[in-house]
Subunit: 603 residues, 2 copies
């Protein structure tokens, strides 16, 4: 019994026998299902997100089709829902029907009604191809349940599971065509070697929520390797090799080590004065009046120490120290037991264990624990309206009426849903002021763990970029050997301005520059780039970050329910914010709220 | 509590972060609400109603957008409902994106998915721009009420108010985006100086229905100025100045004064022989066998007297004396107490008082007296079907089921609604034979009432045109100084063939020609043109006019109910037809019919 709702197709294709047989990527006639939501896209052209157009027509067609797929996904439509395609080609050459093969591949067996229009020009010089789609998304009959969960990431799935275990009926609606949210594991070579593009690490001691779940599901865990040396890519490109977890004795700056140790100690101390259950109480408010950079500068003016602080915010949040409230950052670290524990790869540390089959296996496993027909995929939520009838959740694939709703999307995405009545202002302020971070994860697959030959751990830290930090993310057991490199914060923002090939090259060049002096660096099997910041349904990789002043005013609203709508997600966790453990515990908290409220209502 | 139904938007716009940021007038993706009515327009080109295309691209774009707005409005869609726009430009020049600013202004913050297609040519030479829209109009869940009122003009609103006061439930559906119908007051300079583009005048003695309402609402009234002289623009452009209400002693034609006085008396006499409650009885039938012109010619052959008759039909009905049944016209004048009273601006006359805040303030005030969520705007009615369940009123924004329905649109518009069962033949004949009048009202705003300096009233009458009559429509109290000029009947029809700028110039030239010899005529602040004949939801300014023969056969059907569908509107009034007072009394009559029928049904 599958937990996933099986949708009846939105379309019916007809090819009348009196008309000529169309090629396999279109039909003469398409009709929609009886009750549909309609989706239209703007004409999509073949440029990347920086508005750069490839010279060649084929390149433009491929990019335009990618963009079309994204535009459709944004409204919960898939190519299977496209009933009409119109596309335009400049300077069309009858002898070169370049578009046909690309469109056939893109349509993947689906056959919309299609019109092809040669044109003398398009909106800007250089644009050679444009394509627009009209789609229809069949609407499921309205379902009434006790609880609707919005979002099938870890927090949402955990909440749904708890709700169903309590004997309540529950549906989960998910914008993506898969469960897992930011747990997303792929097998790019299709050889059973999963790599994680999102959250990857857990531990088995103080991350009890996720660890319990891993045990329930019986998933195999891999210990993060910490043997081998770490390389510091110091100012000026100077390389310094040191033992795991140690600060090098000598760096470019004279008293660097002392200053790095000092900022480590000061941060640890500041964290331990905070109360994660009441983060804005007392003196904490002072910390919310300044950025982390300002705070760090009250402790040290050391360039190296400040660069280390920068490494932290980049790696952990995808932002710069000047963008985040000191309180927000320190409270975040405190949620994982303080900086040394949160950043550690050792036992009790934040990065101690990984899943052999990737972290998404937990989400997939959790979904399998749900009742049949619980999860509606490709169903982004457009509107949540509360009335005396209940809470109406309007999704791209139909409406659901719940007694309570649990929203498990990040605050920064609240604005993509129309709430009626509107969210209270504090929640909206949290959503509005969440800093758009930039997390650019690169997983580089190799045929062997070549760095280990030279006694290296694969980890390095760079004050120069484009990579700020790296880790060995191999799973030796199934022959998956990889380095995962983070080009985050301003480094990622800068890198993202380049075309994809140049970005990849810059990453590989950096790896070569850092490891090259110690060991021969082979060519990779594959480089996978993942920018969560550009991900429609995530926008940020760990948590949206608050600048100074926001927590003091609005943090209190983070977990409060809005009528019968409840809010979960890793950013709402008290412990291990931004981690899978925080997601799971927040889901449990949301389920508890709803179960209690419904039990109360029964009395 | 607003009387207006607040609609959930039909559309949801999405701009995926991986795609480039589109300009503010379009979105990459738009999805419709689950339950929608769909609207498509033909490609709209940039010509005026005479099919004249401006030379310049910008001019064509502006006209095409105006036409598009009209095409959408005709189906109850607004630009907020447009989910897709496709537009075509001939000979597109990449360096001149003229369309962008126009479309941005037109879309007014709404962002459909858009495709722009440069093309080598369009359907005819000279066409440079074409635009088509796809819109979706969200359907409200069906509501069941005691009474549905179609049309939120004065008669419909009055009916609804009476129905609600009787304790019955009632909804009002209105095609326009505003209430008021032909009471329409604008503040073109946005300085609190309202001018009336539709009905303007009432009195406080024999127009008791509208006056009572004005008192209930506490609206301030302005007495129509009648001091100062009137100018006759006689044949050949000869100007004659005379006192208010007087016929000049000398006109171009020798015995003009006597003949004008004669036709006045004959008309008065003929009117007083009619019974407005039984207008086709007895000898009256004879009057329905001829046109007003034919009847007038039986009284006089004076060119001046016939020109005066022509002034009447033009000013009062927007038609020529040859187009209207003598009976129809005389009965119409009798409904206002006879010609001298109906045409008078003095106490007891038809044009004695105006509303300081414009006549629409009565409709707006009346709407505010209704219960919350009573009025559905932008909801033209497509179909009215009667069955044993009740009367189903299908509007562009959803269906309503009423026990009774009150239709407050003009007979000439009955054909725009599908009635099931069809209307009886007499009602259809009234609708079919209603003469398409032409009322072209111009309000010319000035910074001061310059005509008064020369002892002039601002009123003139012209045998030449393009203006047939004018009035001072200033509201001194709030510094609004204006002349309202009517270019009606054939004068208006001729004028309407010219481009807008030429029309305005012709009007201003005429004013200069008439007043210039007496006083310096300054440039106006603004000229507002309003052709009610081109108005989708009115078609005529006062009432549709019957040619000979129609009243005798079909007048009896004017007010009869069709099953549970009742008919109101100023043309159905016995008294003050074509006036606001008639509208209000007809609404009261319709409400009474329905209340009695429902009370009967309860017994």
């Amino acid at each position: 019994m599958s937990p996933y709702v099986k949708f009846i197709p939105s379309l019916h294709h007809v090819n009348p026998p009196e008309l000529y047989e169309p090629p396999p990527y279109y039909s003469h006639t398409v009709t929609t299902s009886s009750s549909c939501r309609f989706v239209a896209t703007a004409g999509q052209v073949g440029c990347d997100e920086n508005k750069v157009f490839p010279e060649h027509l084929d390149g433009q067609i491929l990019l335009a089709l990618e963009n079309l797929a994204r535009a459709l996904e944004a409204a919960g439509a898939t190519i299977a829902d496209v009933y009409k395609l119109v596309y335009y080609v400049v300077d069309y050459d009858h002898s070169n029907r370049a578009h046909a093969k690309h469109i056939e591949r893109f349509m993947d067996g689906h056959r919309p009604a299609t019109t092809f229009v040669p044109v003398p020009a398009l909106a800007s010089p250089g644009i050679k191809f444009e394509i627009e789609a009209y789609a229809a998304v069949r609407q499921e009959p309205m379902q009434k349940v006790d609880v609707v969960v919005v979002g099938a990431g870890l927090s949402g799935l955990k909440a749904a599971w708890e709700v169903q275990k309590a004997g309540l009926s529950c549906m989960v609606v998910e914008a993506r065509g898969r469960v897992g949210g930011r747990t997303y594991s792929v097998d790019p070579l299709e050889e059973g070697r999963k790599v994680d593009l999102g959250g990857a690490w857990i531990n088995d001691t103080n991350q009890s929520e996720i660890y319990k779940l891993a045990q329930t599901l019986g998933h195999e865990l891999v210990v993060q390797k910490t043997d081998g040396d770490v390389i510091y890519d110091d100012f000026g490109g100077n390389l310094v090799r040191t033992g795991y977890g140690l600060t090098p004795d000598v760096l470019a700056e004279a008293n660097a080590k002392e200053m790095i140790n000092l900022i480590n100690e000061e941060t640890e101390k500041a964290c331990h004065e905070l109360d994660i259950r009441d983060p804005t109480s007392g003196a904490a408010k002072e910390l919310d009046k300044m950025t982390l950079l300002e705070w760090a500068k009250t402790k040290t003016s050391s360039k190296s120490a400040l660069a280390v602080v920068q490494l932290w915010t980049r790696a952990m949040m995808g932002i710069e120290p000047s963008e985040v409230s000191a309180l927000f950052f320190l409270n975040y670290m405190k949620s994982g037991g303080g900086p040394s524990r949160m950043r550690s790869d050792l036992k009790h540390g934040g990065q101690h264990l990984r899943f052999l089959e990737g972290s998404q296996s937990v989400s997939l496993g959790l979904a399998d624990l749900l009742h049949a027909n619980t999860v509606m995929l490709n169903s982004p939520v457009l509107r949540i309206s509360q009335s005396s009838d209940g809470v109406l959740v309007s999704t791209a694939r139909g409406d659901l009426l719940g007694k309570h709703v649990i929203v498990s999307v990040q605050t920064i995405l609240y604005n993509s849903i129309t709430f009626d009545p509107p969210l209270p202002s504090s929640k909206l302020e949290l959503a509005k002021h969440g800093v758009q971070s930039f997390s650019f994860k690169h997983v580089i697959l190799y045929s062997e763990p070549w760095w280990r030959k030279a006694g290296l751990s694969g980890a390095f830290m760079s004050f120069n970029g484009p990579i700020s930090t790296s880790r060995d993310t191999s799973n030796d057991q199934n022959g998956q050997y990889s380095l995962t490199c983070f080009a985050n914060g301003d480094l990622g923002r800068r890198l993202s301005k380049y075309p994809k090939e140049e970005r990849t090259q810059a990453i590989l060049d950096h790896i070569k520059r850092v490891f090259g002096p110690y060991v021969n660096v082979p060519e990779p099997l594959l480089v996978i780039q993942r920018s969560w910041s550009k991900d429609l349904w995530s926008r940020v990789c760990t948590v949206p970050v608050s600048p100074p002043g926001i927590m003091t005013l609005h943090e209190h609203a983070l977990r409060t329910a809005h009528g019968k709508v409840h809010f979960v997600g890793t950013e709402t966790a008290y412990e291990w914010k931004g981690y899978m453990d925080g997601a799971v515990s927040s889901g449990a908290r949301g389920a508890k709220e709803v179960i209690e409220a419904l039990n109360q209502a029964k009395l």
